[in-house]
Symmetry: none
Subunit: 405 residues, 2 copies
């Protein structure tokens, strides 16, 4: 329904994501946002629409994938991203409709009476450095199999991510391939087997690839085999521009978030530096070229995950100091929110609703004093599903026609 | 989706149901909860997550069945409990997968030209004492029919509940049997007819049973026949433990609520006495044996139904006095709520959202001064569907894995 109402115009929308921004009381009964000194956010909050979004559902803690899909306007339950694809994105690999992403473990196998037996599914958790050496060896030796390009990317310890790039777009279901990890030591590795014609074709390439890997690793003392699981392809998602009529770009530092933005077809802006200041300069540089700007600030989440509430507060304060530079651009709609909460006391993502600030000329405002969890509860947006945020951004930029006569 | 995220641990959850707790203004513009003096609840409310749950939908008044199923985490629309089953539960009959429960009315019939005609569908609303005498007579004379055990239980006036217990589990749909009550006087009673093979088998037992009842009642002046309706079997519901990984028990006095808890597989705790104090002593006694404790307090609803707001206030105050004894156990999650509202001014169940208090270390708190309808509106949980309460209880006891990477 929403999409049938979308009409285009040139008004600008900024979606500013402070990753993991929501928190819980950490000191004197106050949360990170409450403890932070944020004069600019305070002023803005007083004349903005406030509320909280529910990333997936009551009580559900989202990963970064579902957390971002929701605020991008894609239902996180009906658009699930395979683990292999997410790992690939996190490693900075670009994924396309021609790709199959796979999570791999280096493992130790042994021949026992002609049978190959898995002795250690994690190759004794080899050091990351050893992983890098082995992965480089594979990368150099195996560039393609049967015309399919192969990319290897080392992870931590025994983990590695593979990407197979086929010469043409793959049909849906091409990733329906059985894991080769038998999940238990003392068993034979399984063969990759496809569930359908398309995935059987992919599986046959994987079989040949595994033979070459086995030969190349045969002299390794520990990592002499590769177990594969989580075969996945890029989820079919209608692009952000097609769906919402917005030419969109992402100004993000970390590969995972650049990857998530690229999944919905946002353009990725390259820029020097990694600071909030660098991101805002970049925003100014590309201001005329897009309608929608996704700015992703990571460190609020990183400090939350570490349980370092003082660090989280510092990032909030740093952001606050830069806020006037964004307001200077005078976007029609500015949204400040997170993809999920990361309370320092939980040292991880959580299920708590996420504060939302929406600034536009068409809000009530005056409900709240600050941009904090408790002040957002008093706001005019209430507690609403994350995927409805796009409705609000479109409406406030006057891009939604009337529904019905 | 929820169920795929559940992980087990030993943290304790208490779900304390004050039946029909929600109210409306009764005096000086204040509700029962607002008029009650509740120093302990007030203190707890200040540091808890508050909100209101919507039992079924806006404007929908739930019976006790849907009211409880919702807060147990079962969608009350997709899990409907047959009237016969609910009546049986209310009478304290245990129901199993081998049972068919039936609602009966004693009726007066007359033979007119060889045809049996219903003269009075309610047998002149015979006194309950007469019902008891007649039901005892039937109970003694008819213990089984064709190897199927038969239980009779007298209700008020002309009402009676029957339970047929078959030797083995009944397939689904065995209760699809036409009512024998013609719904109008002057008509013949209908024959019980099954819609399918399984229910036809049940119907044939019912026919034989009815013949014997007719013979036994032939000398009765008024209650000389039995009309049957609401054939129902125990709904197939995945057990609470299977679904949510929680070993659960019910500490409830009244048969209906014990029955509802047993429908989802909670264990029923036996105990002496009927007071809130007795229930809390029982909670302490079994504290080590379960993860989830459903405590049901009935009298808030009973007084509400009577329109006796002072009585309702007294029960709330009595509960408040005992609250410290529950807190002493230090549950990881304590929820205080109702299954629905029963405003004294309406003298019955109502559709109004029901106050919820959730106490756990992982809440914001500080939003509200008391546990009342109006203070709960300010809380961090908002107004949410009753069936999402289980998500919150699981999340706050750290039992839900992250959704997506």
């Amino acid at each position: 329904m929403l999409e049938s109402l979308v009409q285009k115009n040139d008004r600008k929308i900024v979606l500013l994501v402070l990753d993991g921004i929501g928190g819980l009381p950490v000191k004197d009964g106050r949360t990170e946002l409450e403890l932070a000194k944020t004069p600019n956010l305070d002023t803005l909050a007083k004349r903005s629409a406030l509320g909280l979004h529910l990333p997936v559902d009551q009580g559900i803690t989202p990963g970064s994938g579902p957390g971002h899909l929701g605020i991008f306007g894609y239902n996180p339950l009906s658009h699930q991203i395979g683990r292999g694809i997410l790992e690939a994105l996190g490693l900075g690999l670009e994924v396309s409709d021609r790709d199959i992403a796979i999570r791999g473990n280096y493992a130790t196998v042994e021949r026992v009476g002609g049978r190959l037996i898995v002795k250690d599914r994690r190759a004794g958790r080899i050091p990351t450095e050893e992983n890098k050496r082995i992965t480089s060896k594979l990368s150099e030796a195996i560039r393609e199999v049967d015309g399919v390009e192969v990319f290897f990317s080392p992870g931590m310890e025994h983990r590695v991510t593979l990407l197979l790039r086929f010469p043409e777009e793959l049909p849906e279901g091409s990733d329906r391939i059985r894991d080769t990890d038998p999940q238990k030591e003392g068993l034979e590795p399984l063969l990759p087997e496809g569930e359908n014609e398309a995935s059987e074709r992919v599986a046959s390439v994987v079989k040949k690839l595994l033979q070459r890997v086995e030969e190349l690793l045969s002299e390794e003392p520990r990592a002499n085999y590769l177990l594969l699981r989580g075969f996945s392809q890029k989820p079919k998602m209608e692009s952000f521009e097609k769906r919402f009529g917005l030419k969109a770009c992402a100004i993000a530092v970390y590969p995972m978030y650049r990857g998530l933005a690229s999944l919905v077809g946002m353009e990725l802006i390259s820029f020097e530096g990694q600071s909030i200041k660098d991101q805002i300069s970049t925003l100014k540089r590309v201001w005329e070229d897009y309608h929608f700007f996704f700015l992703h600030i990571k460190k609020t989440d990183s400090y939350g995950e570490d349980g370092n509430y003082e660090g989280k507060i510092r990032v909030i304060e740093e952001f606050d100091a830069h806020l006037p530079n964004i307001l200077e651009l005078n976007p029609q709609v500015l949204v400040i929110t997170g993809d999920h909460s990361t309370p320092s006391v939980l040292k991880g993502h959580s299920w708590h609703p996420v504060p939302v600030l929406l600034h536009s000329p068409y809000v009530l405002g005056g409900t709240s004093e600050r941009f904090t969890e408790r002040e957002c509860l008093k706001g005019e947006l209430g507690i609403f599903p994350a995927e409805k945020l796009i409705n609000l951004m479109l409406a406030h930029s006057l891009r939604l026609a009337k529904f019905g006569a």
